[in-house]
Amino acid sequence: MKTGKSVTAKQKTAGWMFLAIASIMIFIFSFYPMVSALIMSFKTGSAASMKWANPITFNYTRMFQDKTFMKSVGNTFLYLIIQVPIMLVLAILLAQLLNNKDLKFRGLFRTMVFLPCAISLVSYALIFRTLFATQGLVNMTLMNMGLISENINWLGQTDTARFVIIFALIWRWTGYNMVFFLAGLQNIEYSVYEAAKIDGATGWKTFWHITVPLLRPVIIMTFIMSINGTLQLFDESVNLTNGGPANTTITMSHYVYNNAFGTGVANFGYASAMSFFIFILVAILAFINLKVGDTRD
């Protein structure tokens, strides 16, 4: 076997060969659809006969005049601003509590907090819808406890419907984020805490000056993931409230879906354009987050 190639060169070729399969797959299944979605976002018409929009940016300018889409942007940001901070703070506190070495049944508690994540998004949304129905369990419980005098139409009023969505999101995702924090906490040497204790730091001070700074990379990661997830929020809006009442709980992705597959419209061009708008939003927010959060270089 004399090929004239050096060992390093051979290894390099082999490396590229191994990479090639995955790379080609990513190109076919990820990058190619992305590019065609971008091209599609400049077209209009039904799926069978799409033509270039006139003017070419028609779909992009249209979305800013679309009151429903603007409403969906507002709703999504409302969820983002309220839900993400509450959820992350809860997740850190829970992680801190459940990281306590002396706590009994630690495993059990951790499993319990994480368990909601094992449930499919559709099923939990449907269950929440049943719980918060006008004749549902929540109303019945509150009624029997004497807290309310008549059934609350949870999903039929804007404020309560938004509350239910945010509540459901917190329930579903806090445990998920907590796991990241737990992993992060376990990477912090116990000796650091001991040193702090010797220096006379209280529990709160330890948390604020040691735990939080050392957890910073994890916090940034969960923050980006949560922003990303919330901006693409879909299942809850569709299954819990169906965007109602009067489109006051509809999310951006839900509206995108409605334009592509819902109500028999099949307006793929417009839907793609809105998807790219969401993409740009996510990219900007993630970029800001990285800039603000990373102080290394």
């Binding site: 693409q232 009442p245 793609s272 969401i278």
Partner: protein, 480 residues
Amino acid sequence: MKRKALSMVLASAMTLSMIAGCGGNGGADTATDTTEKTETTETTESTDSAETTEETATEEAATEEAAPTADVSSEGEHELSVYAWDENFNIPALKAAEKAYQTVDPEFTLNIITQSGSQDVEQAVTLAAAAGDFSTLPDIVLFQDHYIQKFVADYPDAWQDIDDAGIDWSNLGAEKISYSTIGGKHYGAPVDNGTAIFAYRTDILEQCGYTLDDVTGISWDRWLEIAKDVHDQTGMAMLSMDHSGDDLPYMMLQAEGESQWTDNTTPNLVGNDKFKKIIEVIVQGANDGSIILANSWSEYTDQTIQGDQVAGVMNGNWIIPTIEQVADNSGKWAITTLPTIDGGKEGYAANGGSSLYVTANCTKPELAKAFLAYTFGGGDGAIETYDAALTDGGVITTCISAGKSDVYAKGVDFFNGQAIYADIVEMGSHVPVIQQSDFHYNLRTLVNTLITNVQNGNDIDSEIQAAQEQIEFEIAGSQN
């Protein structure tokens, strides 16, 4: 810095692949959950229940696998394939038709491919058309009436007309046929009947001092009075509707012979006094507590109707099986026509329903047409087909001759011996044909929003104006 730039690119790529890769939707989850997401796309439409008006049973059924598909190329000479979606409703009707046609063609088989809901059929057509390859479609599809006009307009190559099938079209309900007649050509054969009924609990009415006659042929104002009285005496509402897909305005307007459209793309809301009056009636009823606007389809059927919260149900007659689920109420219900704005006459409307359409992929159009004409089209096998469809699936015909059979004339115990099926076929022949639009469901969503806003105290005229502007905006967008 270089590393950061790279990570940015990676992060963006992940995000984009989620948005673009999943056909423009994502959930509140990360890349690890993509399997869940594909399930989601398939179930979401089911929850938009009013599009799936007929399939209450499948409403919440989450499908985990892709819907089964057809393979027309491997079919025999005497075989046809068809997509349908309701095991308790339209599939028994198709089985009845298969059996009926076997009397003229003993070798005939109908390969019924069950879908999880009507939206599966719509998406199958959309995807086939987008790919420019209709070979994935079966010979025949069952398709929702309100959608077909838009789908024929958008994808003309996906269909074959059945104008020359030899069907006596005048023997079929005119309003029903108006959906499947596109550009003067007949594309579909009707299966079910969407005629709207107003069913009342006669025991509750009696308890409050009313009879069925007192609520037949009355005006909506009088109806509101009676409803308020019933509500005050019993605490029960007189009517409920799924407000996430509210068909009340459409049906109430149709009973007036009025439409929300002047033509396919021109909405008729601003300055339409009847439309405004109907919105006022609904809002008034909701404020009185005599109309319950439920938040979802399951709340509408399971809680308001089957949970004994209402003394009346107004919807397409396919709602009857839902009412009949409560065995305790047997003999207490009766059906009648709709009130109208001015009263003094009976209101007739229709809501929902589907028909059978031959796709471009059918290589045996002669067989398909002969089959449809002989069975659902009112031919020699019509009575056998429709009688069995009624007994097995509760499917009521729009075919006038088939509605005269003995099975149809029989009284129904649940409705205190009333011959409701014959009544419904008769009512169906009076339903006025009104202007339809491809944007029916877009407008329905906007009208629902309008009602909610007016209920919350907004000015009705400016809300109607806003709804008109928004629907015009949506139409303009899809016509660019």
